[in-house]
């Protein structure tokens, strides 16, 4: 593949990540195109979340580099990457449980706030204007999109798990990311919630106002195969296949990695 493909938004090049003697990632490379849904799958312990953590900056790989929109972001810290337009959600919910849904989402807007402490203290004038603009954005583009209007003033800790997952997506969106990293967005959801979540991801990906590239780590094969444009398969820290969902499904090594059972690819919904 030519290296100067304009359409590549995220490029992970030969990264290597080891924890002590355990190599979690061995020279893994992926390319994510602008505007696509890219899924990373693999058996437990394959290194999927490690890869995601490397991209978001939580881990720093020992070798290799990560380029986001042709900028080398390998040395950047997570918050610096967030500013560039990388947002993520977590496998286990990492929200502020004692705060309301709205406050959690507002927090995600923080990188876009220009008001300083003094202005915020006075509030009137520019601070007020900015606050209102942000609130308007949150209401129109996030709360309405994700259908969480009825819980906007509820405390997060009191909500059912499925809704908390949605709030986490909402907070990630508040960053107005160019690329969204989703770590197992479907984990622990019931069938109806999974369908909702899949639709929200598609909305965020396709809706004109958003058009966010999504990279997701996911166990739910049904969802992955349905919504992804490209899939990368990891096994024991190595990428063993990459391509379109139908291509990956037929790959011998992938089938083997999933215990040699073809059906298993579809039947991993717990």
């Amino acid at each position: 593949m030519p290296d100067r493909d304009d359409n590549i938004q995220l490029r992970v090049e030969n990264i290597h990540m080891a924890f002590g003697g355990v190599a979690a990632l061995r020279s893994v490379s992926i390319r994510v195109q602008r505007g696509e849904i890219f899924s990373i799958i693999g058996p437990n312990g394959a290194g999927k979340t490690v890869l995601l953590n490397c991209i978001s900056g939580l881990y720093r790989p020992q070798r290799g580099r990560i380029l986001f929109e042709d900028q080398d972001i390998t040395p950047l810290r997570p918050y610096q990457r967030a500013r560039l337009g990388l947002a993520r959600s977590f496998q286990k919910i990492e929200l502020f449980r004692g705060m309301t849904v709205l406050d959690n989402i507002r927090l995600g807007r923080h990188v876009h706030m220009h008001t300083n402490l003094l202005q915020a203290g006075v509030y009137l004038g520019p601070a007020e204007k900015e606050e209102l603009a942000h609130r308007d954005f949150i209401e129109r583009e996030i709360i309405d999109l994700l259908e969480i209007t009825h819980i906007r003033n509820k405390v997060v800790g009191m909500l059912p798990y499925g809704l908390q997952k949605r709030v986490e997506l909402a907070r990630a969106l508040a960053l107005q990311p160019k690329l969204l990293l989703l770590d197992e967005p479907m984990a622990g959801l019931n069938l109806e919630e999974v369908e909702d979540m899949a639709r929200f991801i598609l909305d965020v990906n396709e809706e004109k106002r958003w058009r966010v590239t999504c990279v997701l780590v996911e166990h739910d094969m049904g969802v992955v195969m349905d919504i992804s444009n490209h899939v990368a398969v990891l096994n024991f820290g190595e990428k063993i296949a990459e391509g379109t969902p139908s291509h990956v499904q037929q790959d011998e090594r992938v089938i083997q990695a999933y215990l040699g059972e073809k059906e298993d690819l579809y039947a991993t919904r717990r």
Binding site: D136, E139, L145, T149, H150, R199, E206
Partner: protein, 651 residues
């Protein structure tokens, strides 16, 4: 008790035979102009819309529909949540001389298809993707349906069916036409007369396929007027529209009374947030089904159970004082001074807070209709100072014929006929009524019309009697009457509504017609019972498991036993089971207005009923469930049968 600040009331409109809903609407626009006609909560803010803006939208839609080929007398099917667009569309259809057919938002495909096809609807005005999907699915089977108009673009980006059109585009066309022919809209309205059919309303039907009742402009206007002769509404009032438009009660308030009294109609943000939004508006008038009031009481009972000791004690005391006052009011007895004094304190400490919490802080008249509400619920609301009144009526009489009067409320009655309405009891006990609001007949169903409408009298199918005070007492639909073992008639609804006063019981189905004794099938409330179970450290994973948990069964048994104490000996529930699921309208177990469909239940749960009348300690129930997408699931449930009296030994 009267609340509601400074009130202004428009002079009563004289309803002449040429008057139509659109004409009254235009009059209201001229009178109120820049006053707020409706509000919708959107993006967290209440956004007002004046009467002039309302008019402009209605005009655009009406002319747009005409452009598409809507003729006078054509039917337009409407489906969607309560939202301003729904009301504009309906008003526009009426202005263009069309007939509005409302469908329940959650109606399944078969129901939608039946109604759209049977009503000969030419257009469908729907809300969003879900409804568009339904409309597209049935389109091929309903050849008369030509266009589908939607208003919420969400999720519709890939839809390109040529039958689809957005409401925005439709209004654009209408606006162009309005510019070319500025008088067109008014001319359309002028042609209408009161005898024209305005609404084709499909009754939910506890027993058979839905029947379409034809209601005229005259029916609707007269009914609204007569209701407001009893309980005037004011232009300063607020009303919250959150029950389905396909329910006649909602039409009564939003369409008929709304344009006559000029009050503001408020639309909640989402159905899920309706109760919170209700609180923000605190309406003066409210009309709702018994379900909602039951849900409110359940909410309070749950909060009470979670409260601290002191708060519980204050609540209990305040409520007892309230009950004393309410009972005195029901019996029209004077209240002793000490009680009155206590009441002032209780009202300040407890009742006011409860009313505020429920969104009833400013309520003047709260109506309940549709199905009977239990006496316990009724007393509760009066105890906290909410003027709750029962309404009785059918779709066929535009929703209302009998109503409680303020200060003349009796627990077991539904009140007295509204003006211009006669109610009498036939020899066989059937309730007959006659008023200007009696419908024209059923659409394409002359047999049913002939059966229901005889010499201008509406045969309700309900039975009842008129008590010495002139109040009507009614026993739900005739089919809901049970003949007990001693030959006595008894209303299962009465026992059911009392059972539902327990916060743990969401639904109850009482069986006993021509049976040796009375039994019940109970659906626990998952949320409330689940929380109770958690507080007791009981682990469970599903509704089914929780419902069969021995301690939960005991909890329900105690509730049943308490209710039994207030029932005549032969009507007492002897045995019951907890069902493994809640009753659901999607499974045909309830009507869309959430009434039990007994015939269907009897058939579906035959095994359970047999078990209840055998000596078996449990009953096994196997069945398959088919989901909407065609998947099937097997259910194999073992339900424990509980003897209510067993704890006290057999005797």
């Amino acid at each position: 008790m009267q609340r509601g600040g400074n009130r202004q009331r428009a002079r009563e409109i004289e309803i002449t035979p040429d008057l139509t809903i659109p004409k009254v609407f235009v009059r209201a626009v001229q009178t109120y102009g820049n006053k707020v006609a409706m509000r919708e909560k959107e993006y967290g803010i209440w956004r007002p819309l004046t009467w002039n803006e309302y008019y402009e939208r209605v005009q655009a839609i009406a002319l747009g529909l005409t452009e598409l080929g809507l003729q006078r007398g054509d039917k337009v099917a409407l489906i969607g949540d309560n939202r301003p667009e729904g009301l504009w569309a309906e008003m526009a259809v009426l202005c263009a001389g069309g007939i509005a057919v409302w469908l329940y938002q959650e109606s399944l495909i078969d129901e939608v298809q039946f109604i759209v096809d049977h009503s000969d609807a030419k257009f469908m005005i729907v809300e969003g993707q879900e409804e568009v999907d339904k409309a597209l699915t049935i389109k091929d089977k309903c050849p008369k349906l030509t266009r589908i108009i939607w208003d919420d673009p969400k999720g519709l980006r890939h839809y390109d069916d040529p039958a689809l059109l957005s409401l925005e585009q439709l209004m654009e066309r209408g606006r162009e036409l309005a510019e070319q022919e500025p008088h067109r809209f008014n001319d359309m309205i002028k042609v209408g007369v009161g005898e024209d059919v305005a609404l084709l309303f499909y009754t939910s039907g506890t027993t058979s396929a839905p029947k379409g009742a034809l209601l005229t402009h005259w029916n609707m206007l007269k009914m609204g007027q007569n209701l407001m002769r009893v309980d005037p509404a004011f232009e300063t009032d607020d009303f919250v529209s959150f029950l389905p438009f396909a329910w006649i009660g909602e039409q009564m308030m939003s369409i008929s009374c709304g344009i006559q009294a000029g009050f503001t109609i408020n639309f909640p943000e989402e159905p899920e947030s309706a109760l919170e939004d209700l609180r923000e508006i605190a309406p003066q008038v409210m009309f709702s089904s018994a379900r909602l009031y039951e849900q409110m009481v359940r909410g309070i009972q749950v909060k009470y159970a979670d409260a601290t000791w002191l708060k519980r004690k204050v609540y209990e005391w305040g409520l007892n004082v309230g009950y004393a006052i309410a009972d005195a009011k029901f019996e029209k007895k004077p209240v002793a001074f000490p009680t009155r004094l206590q009441w002032y304190i209780a009202d300040a400490l407890v009742h006011r807070a409860l009313r505020d919490h429920l969104g009833l802080a400013r309520i003047r008249n709260a109506y309940t209709g549709g199905s009977a509400i239990g006496p316990d619920h009724f007393r509760f609301f009066h105890a906290i100072g909410v003027n709750l009144k029962q309404i009785y009526g059918q779709t066929e009489i535009a929703g209302i014929s009998v109503l409680h009067r303020t200060d003349d409320v009796k627990l077991d009655t539904v009140g007295k006929p509204i003006p211009e309405t006669e109610v009498k009891i036939a020899d066989d006990g059937e309730i007959l009524s006659k008023s200007p609001a009696v419908f024209k007949g059923y659409y394409k169903n002359p047999e049913a019309t002939a059966k229901t409408l005889r010499d201008g009298w509406l045969h309700s199918g309900d039975s009842g009697f008129i008590d010495p005070d002139g109040h009507l007492v009614f026993f739900d639909r005739s089919k809901d009457i049970m003949i007990l073992s001693d030959g006595r008639k008894f209303s299962p609804v009465f026992a059911e509504s009392r059972l539902k006063f327990s916060p743990y019981i969401k639904d109850a189905w009482v069986i006993g017609h021509q049976r040796p004794y009375v039994t019940a099938v109970i659906c626990i409330d998952y949320g409330v019972t689940g929380r109770w179970a958690e507080s007791k450290g009981i682990a469970y994973t599903s509704y089914q498991e929780l419902s069969q948990e021995p301690r939960v069964l005991e909890l329900v048994r105690q509730a049943v036993e308490r209710v039994n104490q207030g029932l005549p000996e032969v009507a007492r529930v002897r045995r019951f089971v907890n069902l493994f699921k809640e009753f659901d309208a999607d499974d045909d177990e309830l009507t869309r207005t959430k009434k039990l469909r007994r015939g269907f239940l009897e058939e579906r749960y035959r095994l359970i009923v047999e078990g209840l009348y055998s000596d078996a300690p449990e009953v096994r129930f196997e069945t398959g469930i088919t989901y909407e997408d065609g998947r099937t699931q097997k259910i194999d449930a073992r339900l424990k049968i509980v003897d209510v009296e067993q704890a006290r030994g057999q005797g």
